[in-house]
Amino acid sequence: MDLMNALVAILNFVVIPATSYGAQLALGALGVTLIYGILRFSNFAHGDTMAFGTAIVILLTWGLQAMGVSFGPLPTALLALPVAIALTAVLVLLTDRWVYRHYRRIKAAPIVVVMASVGVMFVMNGLTRLLIGVGEIQFADGARFVVSVAEFKKWTGLAEGLSLRTTQVITLVVAALAVWALFWFLNRTRSGKAMRAYADNEDLALLSGIDPDRVVRLTWIIATALAVTAGTLYGLDKSFKAFNYFQILLPIFAAAIVGGLGNPMGAIAGGFLIAFSEVALTYPWKKIAEYLGFEPTGLLQMLGTEYKLAISFVILIVVLLVRPTGLFRGKAY
């Protein structure tokens, strides 16, 4: 029985939260890695694109709620998501038209483009603040739990409870759908193949008659869709606060680099690796050790939750030291 309790506790406090967080990171890292693969720079504005898109989702959600529209047991935000993606994509395409296109034409050094993305980050951050402020916002509605602790205890008779929140299930379902759609697009459609060809070898792709502007536009739209989805899922799961979306930039970059920048499979693997390390190392294992018959003196917590950023950083450093191209061999240049 104690073994069952330990397993349920691990599932409840480590596996489920880490899986949904990992899915959110993976979606964010996919956007970063796509932009890196095709536009060849690290987009510092990605976190604030997520924040901006999520802010629009929240505003639309409030609008829908005021009109009395709801999505049954699911959060209303999911209804607002496609519209928010479209609006954010328009803004992002404008930034490409007004900012990044110039640097592509003059073939600027990647670090100059990174600097430009810092400018875009500032603007997006300011727009988010203007739209919705800097406070913390909860916007999840609908049914809160799929399985609640009390129900689970009643069903199983275990001392340890297990809860599965609706937002966690939604995160996994939506992320799985998005990843499936992305890979289908990249591997099966003509445009997707054009994107991969362009990422592999720009000159050869141009020679084969691939329209570079179209590839770039598609990349921005897909990356924005992934970013807004990731931001909304993260906001539903935890809460929306503009500054947290800036801070999540580090784990997202770490995930993309761990998997190999430019490699979509790698970004997904990296997202889950970072998320599981983060949750597992900041979780106090005392209770589980007690179920297994040990008598620990401390909390058995490797690192305080305040330092969870340090975990992505350490993983990033180790990867840079051991294998700078990432676990899945991304682009080295």
Binding site: S42, H102, V114, G126, E306, L316
Partner: protein, 447 residues
Amino acid sequence: MSTTRQADTSSSPLRGLLLFLIIAVLFVLEGATRNAMFSGSWNSALSILNMGLISAVTALGVNMIWGYGGLFNAGVVGFVALGGLAPILISTPPVAGAWAAGGPRLILALAVGLATLVLAIVAANRLSRGLRFWGAALVLIVGYVLTRMAFDPAVTAIEANNPAEAGNIGGLGLPILMSWPVGMLLAAIAAWGVGKVALGLRSDYLAIATLGIGEIIVAILKNEGWLARGVLNMTGVPRPVPYELALQSNPDFVAAAARWGMDAATASGIYVKLCYTAIFVAVVLTLILLSQLALYSPWGRMMRAIRDNETAAAAMGKNVTRRHLQLFVLGSAVIGLSGAMMVTLDGLMAPGGYNPLRYTFLIWVMVIVGGSGNNWGAVLGALLIWFLWIKAEVWGPALMSLLTLPLSEGGLRRHLIESAPQMRYVAMGLVLLLVLRFAPRGLLPER
């Protein structure tokens, strides 16, 4: 770093003088005229100037890293915060009983931690290929557990010592100016660690690694109460200049103030701020002198050669990664100095205030606007952008209420006016983008 050339007419020597004059006029207007735009208070003008001078030191450090080396440090905030730790550790008075409570154990923990790192590096270098990774990992895990076993009780003991007023390890009680070089040293050590790992790889890896270390240093300062009381803040950091209250009770000073036609309170504030201004100006000028000398020495020429064409410089036998590391450490040390200066000016260490947008990216705007690679440009950009940043908080709502006059009194107008201070983020982003696009060499281009 320039990607396109501006017209050569822009680099006349008069241009710099004129731009500095414009900034001087702005500060004089802020001090002397009272209207919708300026406060008419010399105290306000001087405090903006002092903070602007500190930003100028930070910008000089960033300019070394970016302007001479083309490296992107995205964690300036961390190095500023780390430099700010020095005045606390060096100059605040010692805390009674703190050292006895956990000092030796703390030193032991730090020594074990350091030994772990060294041993892991040795393991990674000496072991055979297959064992290398796992050997180093094992050393790190065992070392981490041992460090924590010494560290945790020491921290608990120190934080339990007079927690209401102290609870930290306390300082050495040395003069405050002595802490400034220590701030440089702390930042330099951190920069060496990051640079050693991230330099020599792709250029954006350094940006991402520094972004991380910046956030982590701030997190450490917020949460390690034994170090500088964390979010409880450290106040009462000693000053290199007299206190206002001491001046106000000095009859000579009060008489002198009366002769100038000012009341003692205002005069003492201005006097103290002027003292700071003098110190900061001396620091800025010394830094400019030193970095100009370095820039026009063979070393500086080598640095610019490396920046402009790494491949060619490497072919000439220059070790690009080593030189980059050197530059990164030097620049970060200057950034650390500005952090120590800021804590000295504020008399306060408040880790909650270290916001990356303000301390990393705003500094970047200053450097880019001022002119990458030009030290005077960095100072100019710092003073100008800092002035605008502070005043925009006042001007934004005023402008917005003017613009929204046609709108009826209501929720929308109120929302727009209330959120107008946030406009300055948009404005700064636009300034950065416009300068980067249309005048990539900045207001004062590198010659």
